[in-house]
């Protein structure tokens, strides 16, 4: 603790982290619990995903280790959600979680039958892309869907 330069360095970083936290928490897009925001061509739709009609989904997804994980639960195809909003023409969809982690799904993938699902798990949405070789596109706590 003797080195003042070190302490100044650490305290400066912590202070900067504090300032950036305040900026990020004030400016980030938030949606209320149970809602997901869909953005398309400047339009924003806030949807209550508790009211969606889910169907039983089962399949295999492959995690980062290459292990096969059985997925069973209730979900809805991403394309169905977009159809309900009359979104037909798009190139890709970016699905983001509450912690800003995001995954991109192409229009071809989204429209492929039985491939891209939003699973309803513990009052949260999770993006599952069946057939992926890793778990990078497994996004938990989905809060935003950006359609491009």
């Amino acid at each position: 603790m003797k080195n003042k330069r070190v302490m100044f360095f650490i305290l400066s970083l912590l202070a900067l982290a504090g300032i950036l936290s305040a900026i990020h928490l004030k400016t980030r897009d938030t949606s209320a619990q149970g809602n997901v925001k869909v953005s398309h061509k400047g339009e924003n739709f806030v949807l209550d995903y508790n009211k969606w009609q889910y169907e039983p989904v089962s399949g295999i997804r492959i995690n980062g280790k290459g292990d096969e994980i059985s997925v069973e639960g209730n979900g809805i195809e991403l394309s169905t959600v977009l159809e309900q909003l009359n979104i037909d023409h798009y190139r890709n969809v970016i699905v983001s979680s509450d912690d800003s982690y995001s995954a991109e799904v192409s229009a071809d993938e989204a429209e492929e039958n039985g491939k891209v699902y939003l699973m309803y798990e513990d009052d949260e949405l999770r993006l599952i892309v069946f057939g992926d070789a890793d778990s990078k596109r497994s996004v938990s706590n989905v809060v935003q869907i950006t359609v491009e």
Binding site: K2, N3, R5, V6, F9, I10, L13, L14, L16, A17, L20, S21, I23, H24, L25, T27, R28, G64, K65, G66, D67, S97, D98, D99, S100, Y101, S102, D134, S135, K136
Partner: protein, 186 residues
């Protein structure tokens, strides 16, 4: 091989394993902070890197950071502890290792105190680990990216301070050991 060198290599191997497994121990605490800040991580990596920095400080081996990063990456791959980086996981371990080597190379012993070397090395290595994770996995942009990087560097610097305290205690033990038994060829 000199016995003291063998002891150092063993210590480096131990630190590689410790770095790999202790990360899981602090993950619950780190998750509380990252969830509150709404960022995808960046806190526990610095703790893992701390063991590399301690080993590098104790061993003083040129290129030791890269070697340990490489070993950690291969171990992680072999044990399936690849996280969200998948097959690119070794890169995620190697880059912080190279960074610690560079910082230790630039901040030579004698010219900079141990605490400064370790804090800067740990902070920069944690920052580079986060940059790598962002390029390979997260792809964050804007304010959240800067926050993620800043939190990584800040936590890395705190772990560096902790590491320098641990290294101070270890240094005495290693000096004692090398005085008593170092130099015995085998």
């Amino acid at each position: 091989m000199k016995r003291s060198k063998l002891v150092m290599l063993n210590f480096m191997a131990l630190c590689c394993v410790l770095g790999l497994f202790t990360k899981k121990l602090i993950n619950p605490m780190a998750n509380v902070i990252t969830e509150a800040l709404h960022i995808p991580g960046g806190i526990s990596t610095g703790f893992s890197i701390m063991f590399l920095v301690i080993a590098l400080e104790a061993a003083g081996m040129r290129g030791g950071g890269s070697l340990m990063g490489c070993v950690q990456g291969l171990l992680a791959l072999a044990l399936g502890r690849v996280g969200s980086m998948g097959i690119f996981m070794p890169i995620g371990y190697l880059i912080p290792g190279i960074t610690t080597d560079l910082v230790f190379g630039l901040m030579k012993k004698g010219r900079f105190p141990r605490q400064e070397r370790m804090v800067f090395a740990n902070a920069l290595a944690a920052l580079m680990a986060s940059v790598t994770a962002n390029v390979l996995v997260f792809r964050l942009k804007g304010a959240v990216l800067w926050l993620y990087l800043c939190v990584s560097a800040a936590s890395g610097s705190v772990y560096g301070l902790l590491g320098s305290w641990i290294a101070g205690r270890l240094n005495t033990a290693f000096l004692w050991y090398s005085d008593k038994s170092g130099g015995n060829g085998s």
